[in-house]
Symmetry: D3
C-alpha cells in the first residue's frame, strides 16, 4: 500500500498549458500542474548584456516571483522589503540556466529573451512548472522573431522540461504537491532535454540523507514524468 491515495506514485497531476494568456508579451502561457499556476511571459529585446556585446550571440534570462497570496499565508512583497529574497533569486537563476541549455545563441543573434515566471497560485512544484511553461513562452517568442524577420532560423535546439521527485516516508513519489513536499525527506528537481539528457539535477536532503539506490529510483520516476510533460509541450506548441 502506498503513501498516496489517489494518484499513483509515478503519476503527474493534471497538466494544462494555455497559450497567449496575456496579450502584450512575445510569448505567453498559463501553465498548471494541478493547483500550481504560473504565468510565463517572454519578452524580446534588442541587444545583450555587456559581457556578450559584439559577440554575435544572444542571451536568455529569467525572473521568478510569487504573488503575495499565491500561498496559504501571505508573503510580504519583495518590493516592500527592498530586495528579492534568496529563494526567488536562486530559482530565477535555475530557470535561466535550464532554458539556455536549449538555445543556439549564434542563431539568436544579439537579442535577449527575458522569461518572467509569476506564480499566481502555489501548490508545490512551482519551479518545475515555471521551467516547463517558460520553455513554451521562449519557443513562442522565437517563432515571433522569425515571423517578424528579426532572425531567420529557429534557435531552439531541443525541448526542456522539468519535474520534481521526492521521497516521502521512504517511498519515491513523482510531482510532489505542497502537502507531500512539506513532509518529504528528500526533494529533487530534474531538468531534462529531449527526454534523454540531464540539464540540471538538484537533490536535497534536509531530513534524511539518501543512498545512490534511492537516487536512481527517483531518476526513474523523474524521467517518466518528463515524458508526459514533453508531450503536453509539443501539443500546445504544435511541434
Amino acid at each position: 500500500m502506498s503513501v498516496r491515495k489517489i494518484r499513483k506514485n509515478d503519476q503527474m497531476r493534471e497538466v494544462t498549458i494555455i497559450r497567449d494568456y496575456i496579450n502584450h508579451p512575445e510569448g505567453s502561457v498559463l501553465i498548471s500542474f494541478g493547483d500550481t499556476k504560473v504565468i510565463c511571459n517572454a519578452t524580446v529585446t534588442e541587444g545583450v548584456p555587456s559581457f556578450l556585446r559584439d559577440s554575435g550571440k544572444g542571451w536568455v534570462t529569467a525572473e521568478y516571483a510569487m504573488l503575495p497570496r499565491a500561498t496559504n499565508t501571505r508573503n510580504q512583497r519583495e518590493s516592500k522589503r527592498g530586495k528579492q529574497d534568496g529563494r526567488s533569486q536562486e530559482i530565477s537563476r535555475l530557470i535561466g540556466r535550464s532554458l539556455r541549455a536549449a538555445v543556439d545563441f549564434q542563431k539568436l543573434g544579439e537579442n535577449t529573451i527575458t522569461i518572467d515566471c509569476d506564480v499566481i497560485q502555489a501548490d508545490g512544484g512551482t519551479r518545475t512548472a515555471a521551467i516547463t511553461g517558460g520553455f513554451c513562452a521562449l519557443y513562442m517568442a522565437c517563432e515571433w522573431m522569425i515571423k517578424e524577420e528579426i532572425i531567420t532560423e529557429n534557435p531552439i535546439s531541443g525541448i526542456v522540461s522539468a519535474v520534481s521527485v521526492g521521497i516521502v516516508l521512504g517511498e519515491p513519489l513523482l510531482d510532489l504537491e505542497y502537502i507531500e513536499d512539506s513532509v518529504a525527506d528528500v526533494d529533487t528537481n530534474l531538468v531534462v532535454k529531449d527526454c534523454s539528457d540531464i540539464v540540471e539535477i538538484q537533490g536535497s536532503a534536509e531530513k534524511v540523507a539518501f543512498n545512490r539506490d534511492l537516487l536512481n529510483q527517483m531518476l526513474d520516476l523523474g524521467f517518466a514524468g518528463i515524458e508526459q510533460l514533453t508531450k503536453a509541450q509539443k501539443q500546445v506548441l504544435g511541434i
Copy 2:
C-alpha cells in the same frame, strides 16, 4: 461625430468579475475592464498596526503592483530596483483610502484586511478596476470572517466603485483605454460610495487646464459609469 468609434462616450468597456479566482485568499476575484485584468486578493490577519492597538478597531490596507509584462514594454521588477516606485505607492494609498470609506472599523474588531491588487494585463483604468475588484475581495473576506465566527456583524457600510473619465480632444469620455488615456488632456478618477457620495476625486491636467463646466460634465459621465459597476459588483456578491 465623436472621437470614439465603437463605444459611446458614456459607455463602459465590458466588465467581468470572476469570484474565487485564487484558492488561498479569504476573498479573491479577477476583474476585467475590457483588456485590463487585475487579480484582487484579500488576506485577513489578526491584530492591527501599532497606531490602532487596544483601540478595538480594525484596519484595511492595500498594495498595488503590475507584473513586468502587463504593459506593452516590459517594466523592471520593483524588487530588482530595490523599491516600490512612486506611482505604485500612490495607487496603493488611494485604494486603501477608498476601501476604508466603506468599513465600520468597530465592527471589524482588531483585525487587518490587506487587499493585494496585481495587474496581470493593463489597458488603462488599472487603478479604478483595482478599487472596484478590491471592494469585492474585501466584501468576500468579511463574509468569510462571519462564517468563521471571527466577527458577528458585517462591517461593510456601503458599496465602493471607481471609474476614470477623461477629456480627449475636448470631449469627455468614460472609462479610458490606454490609447485614449495617452492622448487625454485631462484624466480624472472618481471613487463613489453607494452611487451617490464622492469618496475620492482626482482630476489632473498635464496638457490643458479645465474649467468647472468641464469638471461637471466629467462628473456626470463618471456617475453613470459607477451605476454600471455597482450593478456588476452586486451581482457577483449576491447582494
Copy 3:
C-alpha cells in the same frame, strides 16, 4: 456660528513670500501660510531626462521633503530609512505636474528646472504652500535664464497657485491649519492656473463621503483663496 473662531471660513491665514531666501539657487523663496514655512529653491541644469532627449523641449520636476522636526513629533529622516516615504513621493509628483501646467517646454529648450520644496515648519497646507512658493522660484529661475541669455523668451504661460479646502463638522473651510485638518471629514487640494482653470483637484474623504453640492461649495471657497494667493505671487514677482 462657525467652527472657526478667529478667521472667517473663506479667509486665508497670513501669506508671506520672501524672495532670494537662499543665495545659491537660480530662484529661491521662503513662503509662509501662517505657521507653515517652506523653502522653495529652483535649480537650472542643462539637458533633459532621456525620454525628452533631442526633442528640443525642456522639463520641470520637483522634490518635497520635511525636516525631521518640522512637525510636533520628530519624523525619522528618509535617508536613514533608506527611501523616500510614499507621502513625500506623491506630493513631489503633484508639485511637478502642477508646475509643468504653466510652462511652454519649447521655449524652455533642452533644460531642466528642479524645484526643491523643503518644509522647515509644518502647520497644515504644506503641499499647497509648496506649489504656490515653488511657482515663484520657478518664475525667478526663468528670469535668470533670460538674463544669462540661456533662453530668449519667458516660458511661463500663466500663474499657478494652490490652496486646501476642507469640511469640518459639516462646514467648508478654506486653508486648513493642522488642528482643523486632523478633524476634517474631507480634505481637498485645488491647483488653479490664472485664477480660472483647474490644473489639479484632489478631494479625499476618509471619514465622510461628500455629495456634489458640498464639492461645489468647496470649489467656491478654493477659488476665493486662489485669488488672494495669486495677488501675493504677482506682488513678490513684480508682474
Copy 4:
C-alpha cells in the same frame, strides 16, 4: 601682506544665533557663520538606545544633513540615493561625540536628546557651526526638561564650541569660507569645552603634510575663535 583681504587671519566671520527659530522642537536655533546657515533643533524623547537600558543614564545623538541646494551646485537628496552619504554620517558622529562631552548622563536620566542640524546654506564651516549651534539647542532642551519637571538638575557640564582653522598658501587662517577651504593645504576642526580643553581635533592634509610647529599655530588661532563663539553662545542662552 596676508592672503585674506577683508578679515584678519584670526578673525571669525559674523556670528549670529537666533533662538526659537522653529516652534515645534524643545530647543531650536538658526546659527550663521557668515553665509553658512544651519537650523539646529533638539528633540527630547523618553527612553534610551538598548545598550543603555536600565543604566539610569541618558543619551545625546545628532544628525547632520544639507538641503540639496545649500551649495552652489545641487546635491542629489540622500533619500533618493537610498542612503546617507559617508560625509554626512561622519559629521553626524562628530557632532554627537562633541556634544556628549558636555553632558552628565546621570543627571539626564533615561532620556534621549536628538540634535538635528540641517544646513540650509553652506559657505564653509558647516560642521563647526552645527556643533556650536547644536550645543545651544541642546542647552535649551535641558532647560525645557527642568521646566517640564522631567529632570531636576541641569545635566550640562560645560560649553562646547567648535571652529575650523586652515593653512592657505602657507598661512594659518581662522574660520575658512568655502573659497578658502577649497584651496587650503590643511583643514583642521577644533572642538573645545569651556575655552580650555580639547574635545576633538581633526587635522587633515590632502595637499601638503604639516609639521608640529604649524599645528601649534593653528591651535592658537582656533582657541582665539573659540573664545568669540563661547561669548555668543552665553549671550543667546543668557548664562
Copy 5:
C-alpha cells in the same frame, strides 16, 4: 591520455585545515583546497529564529562571502552595492542545509550556531571547501559548548564533506580548479554524510547536457574525493 597533466582525474588538490585560525570565534579553521582558501568561523548564540521559539530545538545557519580581491579581477563589495548577490545567497543556503543534515537539534537546545565562510583566495571549489571547513568549525563550536556546560551531549550526528566533480572535454574530473571549471561542460557539487549518504547533489550543464551514465561516473569520482576529505577532517578534529 588525460586532459589533466599533473594530478590524476580522481585526485584531490592538496587539502590543509588549520585549527584556531582566528582567536575570537567558538570554532575556527582556515581550509585550503590547493590555492582556494576559506576562513570558516563558528559563532554560538543563545536563542533561535522565531519559527523555532519554544520548540526546544536549535538552529544552524551559514553565510558565505568573498573578499573583493579573492579572484583575479576585483569584485565590488556587496555592502557597497547595498545587497548580497544571488550567487552568495544561494551558496549560503547550500552550506546551511548541508551542515544541518549532521545536527541533532534536540541535543543542541535553543541555541544557534552561525558559520561564516569568507573566501580570502579563490581557485575553484570555494563552496565545497566552505562546507568541508564549515563542518570543522561547527564541530569545534559544539565541543566548546560542552566544555562551557551549555549542552551535555554532542549534537553532531555524522561527518559532512563536500567536493566538486566536472566533465571537461568529455572526461570526468575530481575537484576542479578555476581554469578547469571555466571550460567544463558539467559542474556537479556533491555533499555526503559519513562517506555513504548523499545530503545534496547539484549537477548543472550549461554547455552540454549529460546522460545517466556520465552522472554515475561523476558520482564514483565524487565519493572517492569525499573519502580523502573526511580523513583530513577527522585528523584535525581528533576523532
Copy 6:
C-alpha cells in the same frame, strides 16, 4: 608604576608584515599589530573617476571592512544590512586620504589603485594597521606597474605610517590594544609621512577633554611609534 604591565608606554606591540599574502592582487600583505590582523590588497585599474577624466592624473581610494567574527561578538554583515555602516565608511575615507598624501598623481597617469583593507582579527588599532599595511600594498602595486611598463616612474613620494595613542587613567600610552582602548579617556590616531610631517591627526575625547600639554605628550609617543613602523615597512619593501 604604570597602567601597563608588560609593554612600556612608548612600545609598539609586535609588528609583522607578510608580503604576497594573497596571490591575485597587484600588491598584497597581511599586517599584524599584535593580535590585530589585516589583509591589505591593492588592485590596479585603468581609468579614473569622472571628476579626474582627461586630467592626466591618477587616483587612489580605499575600502575598509571587518569579517563578522573579527571581534569578540559577531557583527552582522554589512551586505545583509544593505549598507556599509558609518564607522566603516569613515575609516575607508581616512585610509584613502592618508595614502593619497604619498602619491604623485601625475606620475600615476590615468590609473586608479584601490586598496582593500579587510580586518580578519581585531584587537585595537585596526585603522592604523590598515593604513600602514595599505601603504605597503600600494607601493608593491606601483612597482608592479613599472615592471608591467604601465608607468615609467614610481609615483610614491614618501612613506606613510599610522599609529594610535591614547590616554588611559591619565597616562599617555602608545598603540592601544582593545582592552586599553575600551577604557581610554582619549583616543588619537596619527598618520605621518616620512617620520616628520603630519598627514592626519584625529584626537577624540568622549570621556575627558584634554589640554594642549597632554596633546603634546601624545604626539611625542606617536612619533616614536611611527619610527618603528616605518622601519618595518622599509624592510619588507626592500627600500
